[in-house]
Symmetry: D2
């Protein structure tokens, strides 16, 4: 994968992201996965708001997270996202989160998405969308 | 106010509600206010889903919270809600949260709501709704 | 698995759980998994607060979710949790969420947990804990 | 107030911030208030992590929010925070949130904070902290 195919966003951990174990609560990483995924699409000229207007939706059908080391309050994190699989009507995104300037991932994971129309029925991923996310 | 005019719900604090100060994160009380408010309406035969179908919405226009003592992980809380003010097109709910079996409030507050139609334009609160929330 | 080995909790979906696709936001299911997991432990005489006092922690190391059908605002859900695997120093919980009175799961998943001490170092699961969660 | 006394952060609204009314869920603004507040302190050389190490804590004792117009998915918001009041042992922060490049506030509010020690007892705000937040 050449780096251009990835999108990176930065996130600053707030108090509200932590739990009483002094680490980021495990559910919150899914929010950062989403933030990076939306930025990935926006960076390719496909803001999700625009796709919805066209009747193209990508609800999450599966999610997996591997928590390697905890992120902590005030950490500045980088969330890296890329499309790792494209089929007729499904997409897979892969993610890794690390502290800015560090290599080791704190959290990794993926999400699967079904391409659906306004009524929630599966549909083939439009050609232009396919081209842009794999480009 | 006679007790029948109040609605009470119970909430168990989870890890995800806490922050690294070992207490419930302050924003989460607004979620519990909402849970009690919805139950208040449901208990009077006005589930919010049904009101939305009729084109009656009550977006929050103001919120106030007073944090007196912290709620903690695994606490079983009671959230008490009642309508404290009804005008032509606005409603006010008051809330208090305490540990089950205790008197002292951990958190108190209120929310103001504007009655709106499907386009978000202010409208008078329907008579039957008014009757039921003040009954 | 005999039913006694499962724990069930009920959850009412609030507005704050939904997103603009009119369904529960996918990250929120992890919170309900946690609520059911804590109740599972509490029901066996092992409240998580008490385990922490003993220096026994079970941070999440992996999570997986399969979203089958959406949960919606005001749905009353049942979250079923049970321990599906116990090794020397790790636990796995399995979860299923369905609407009250329905059979079909809306969401299923699992979480893996490492047994750790106060310093976050892996340790063997204490005998009594092992006995109670598999009992 | 001269502009230097304010801190501004940017926030991109994600799907997870919205609710089924297609707007940001009202509780989430408190998270953004917190993000701006922490950045305010960090920008003055007082990262909250560092203050906690010194035994200086500022739990929220009151919060008020006025919702003027809704923020929406993918909006890029600016959150402006400044200290509006300093007493012996309490601080008040004021906040305003608007879309980037717009003037009108979508949401405004304030939070009060009590200066506490590690045991949660009120204490006077240390001189250097007072100087830096009012400087």
């Amino acid at each position: 994968m050449h780096p251009a195919a990835q999108t990176r966003i930065r996130v600053r951990v707030i108090f509200g992201d932590t739990d009483q174990a002094h680490v980021v609560y495990h559910a919150n990483y899914l929010r950062w996965f989403e933030a990076a995924r939306c930025e990935f699409l926006r960076a390719r000229g496909l803001p999700y708001t625009q796709m919805m207007t066209r009747g193209v939706h990508f609800p999450v059908t599966e999610a997996y997270l591997r928590y390697r080391r905890p992120a902590r309050f005030e950490d500045e994190l980088e969330v890296v996202a890329h499309v790792s699989e494209v089929r007729g009507a499904t997409l897979r995104f892969d993610y890794a989160i690390h502290r800015l300037g560090e290599q080791e991932a704190l959290c990794e994971g993926y999400t699967y998405h079904a391409c659906c129309d306004d009524q929630g029925r599966p549909q083939r991923i439009p050609k232009d969308v396919k081209g842009l996310v794999t480009g």
